[in-house]
């Protein structure tokens, strides 16, 4: 688990989250998602800066050079529209925040230097993200029949990708956070089956290069410019 992988998780998660701003189900949620995206972006910037020039790293790497887990790069709408599915967003955030919270807890306690300092701040933010995602998981899972179905679909579709959320973290510990939330939300915990990986070695899904093409377009159109 390198600092680069942690930074890329945060950066790509931020990029997906901020696409929701002005599109959320409520105005309060526009504010909350912007907040979470800002937290993720903050972690990404702090870590990338500790590794080099943050913009060079964000805007001049190709997909195969990114080390984020596959979960964060998946579109919130499988059709590739910026108009995502809120159930997918919620499930992704629940799974990611549970992982990041544990990871940052651990790094804050064990790592000296930049990584430890970033983690010490980020653990509090992640706790909020986890709480936020938990609340929505409960509302959607235990809300209406429609929302239950959509949330279950999202959980089922994303579950395979959670197997990649390991490294410094034991899956059993992650499950100990996530499973009770699913249970309380009356959602079935999917069976473990397919376990796609590759993000940590730069072997991504077809989705990442589209995300990067958009994210990097302005920066790359002006070589050598200062912003």
């Amino acid at each position: 688990m390198t600092a680069l992988a942690i930074a890329d998780d945060a950066l790509i998660a931020a990029q997906r989250l901020l696409a929701w701003v002005s599109r959320a189900p409520t105005m309060e949620e526009d504010v909350a998602l912007a907040n979470i995206a800002l937290d993720q972006l903050g972690v990404a910037r702090a870590l990338l800066s500790s590794l080099g020039d943050e913009d060079e790293l964000a805007f001049h790497r190709e997909a195969h050079e990114f080390r984020n887990c596959l979960l964060v790069e998946l579109p919130d709408d499988p059709g590739g529209s910026v108009w995502g599915d809120f159930g997918v967003l919620t499930a992704k955030l629940l799974f990611l925040a549970a992982y990041q919270k544990m990871l940052y807890d651990r790094l804050a306690d064990s790592e000296p230097g930049a990584l430890g300092a970033v983690a010490a701040k980020a653990r509090k933010e992640s706790a909020y993200h986890l709480d936020h995602a938990t609340q929505w998981t409960l509302r959607l899972g235990d809300g209406t029949a429609e929302s239950h179905g959509r949330m279950q679909d999202a959980v089922d579709a994303l579950w395979p990708y959670t197997h990649e959320l390991t490294g410094l973290i034991e899956r059993a510990d992650w499950l100990a956070i996530v499973e009770p939330v699913l249970a309380k939300a009356t959602l079935a915990r999917p069976a473990d089956g397919w376990q796609p990986t590759g993000g940590r070695v730069g072997r991504h899904t077809e989705h990442l290069s589209y995300l990067l093409a958009e994210m990097q377009s302005t920066h790359r159109a002006h070589p050598g410019a200062t912003w």
Binding site: L18, A19, D30, A34, R139, G143, T144, M215, G224
Partner: protein, 305 residues
């Protein structure tokens, strides 16, 4: 009844604040509801043109600043709807009025953002014009609105400086960045001037709003103030304001300038700006396609009361 009327008149006459618990004339209430709601709608619709560059901001620092700014706009929308609610209209009703096209929002947001420079120009000119319009509202006779405006103006002024800084960096940048900045200012100058509304001669509502202490200055006075502020800033930036007749008038102590095309303004207000349809479709879609989410939240809240 006579007592409350006199109390209201006294508050207005002595430039004190009317509060939600106070009696107020129906027309005063209706005027405020319309104005505050329109202002709230503008914040919410106004997220779109800038959010259009969130995924493509050219540096992470600018991305974070822009994200925080768009977030502030959502926050302003929330304060303003809350201020309007103190007048007795629930937010849902106001939002419905927007979605059904019964309420307006600021026409400036019906122009598209076509380059990154537009993020700078919106901050500099659009937020700049908003501040000129809104600073007098911090002394508005209706307390909740006046207080919301204090906070909003503080943040807007921060946004305005950030926008100016985006443009400042561009105008000190590559040839293509400078071109981008100028082209953006060329597109936004007249629409920004139009933000002050029709010329005084054609302005409805103004007189009564002045008398009630809701409006403090005429459209043309505010527009002139804005032009006088912008010209020296444009000089420092090194961009040309696209008005060949813009020049200092020693006699008036103001800059002379070409007024915006009010026919264009009226067309945009009426729905035929370049992006009206996109903005409304976006807002309606954000609302409509998430009905199931709001329903779920309501059902869950009901179960867990």
């Amino acid at each position: 009844m006579a007592g409350v009327v006199e109390y209201f008149d006294e508050l207005i006459a002595t430039d004190q604040r009317v509060e939600p618990r106070d009696w107020m004339p129906d027309a005063y209430r209706a005027t405020l509801i319309r104005q505050i709601a329109q202002h709230a709608h503008s914040e919410i619709i106004g997220m779109q043109p800038e959010a259009n560059w969130l995924t493509r901001a050219p540096s992470l620092a600018r991305k974070a600043i822009l994200l925080a700014k768009v977030q502030d706009e959502a926050g302003h929308g929330l304060y303003l709807y809350a201020a309007a609610e103190t007048l007795g209209v629930p937010r849902d009703e106001l939002v419905d009025a927007l979605l059904l096209g019964r309420h307006k929002y600021s026409s400036i947001f019906n122009y598209p953002t076509l380059s990154w420079a537009d993020v700078g120009t919106i901050g500099w000119l659009v937020d700049g014009a908003a501040i000129v319009n809104q600073v007098p509202l911090t002394r508005c006779s209706y307390g909740p609105y006046a207080r919301a405006m204090v906070r909003i103006c503080k943040e807007e002024s921060f946004h305005q400086r950030q926008g100016y800084d985006v443009l400042y960096t561009l105008t000190r940048g590559t040839r293509e960045q400078r071109r981008m900045a100028q082209e953006s200012v060329d597109r936004w100058w007249y629409p920004s001037l139009a933000m002050f509304g029709p010329p005084d001669a054609a302005s409805t509502h103004s007189e009564q709003s002045m008398a009630w202490g809701i409006k403090r200055h005429s459209n043309d006075d505010l527009r002139q103030r804005f032009v006088d502020l912008c010209v020296p800033q444009a000089e420092v930036l090194g961009v040309t304001l696209p008005d060949p007749d813009l020049r200092w008038n020693d006699e008036r102590g103001h800059y002379d300038f070409t007024p915006p095309d009010y026919d264009e303004l009226m067309a945009v207000v009426a729905g035929d700006g370049p992006a009206n349809r996109d903005r409304m479709r976006h807002r309606r879609r954000a609302h409509d396609q998430h009905q199931w989410v709001r329903d779920a939240a309501a059902a869950y809240a009901e179960k867990n009361r």
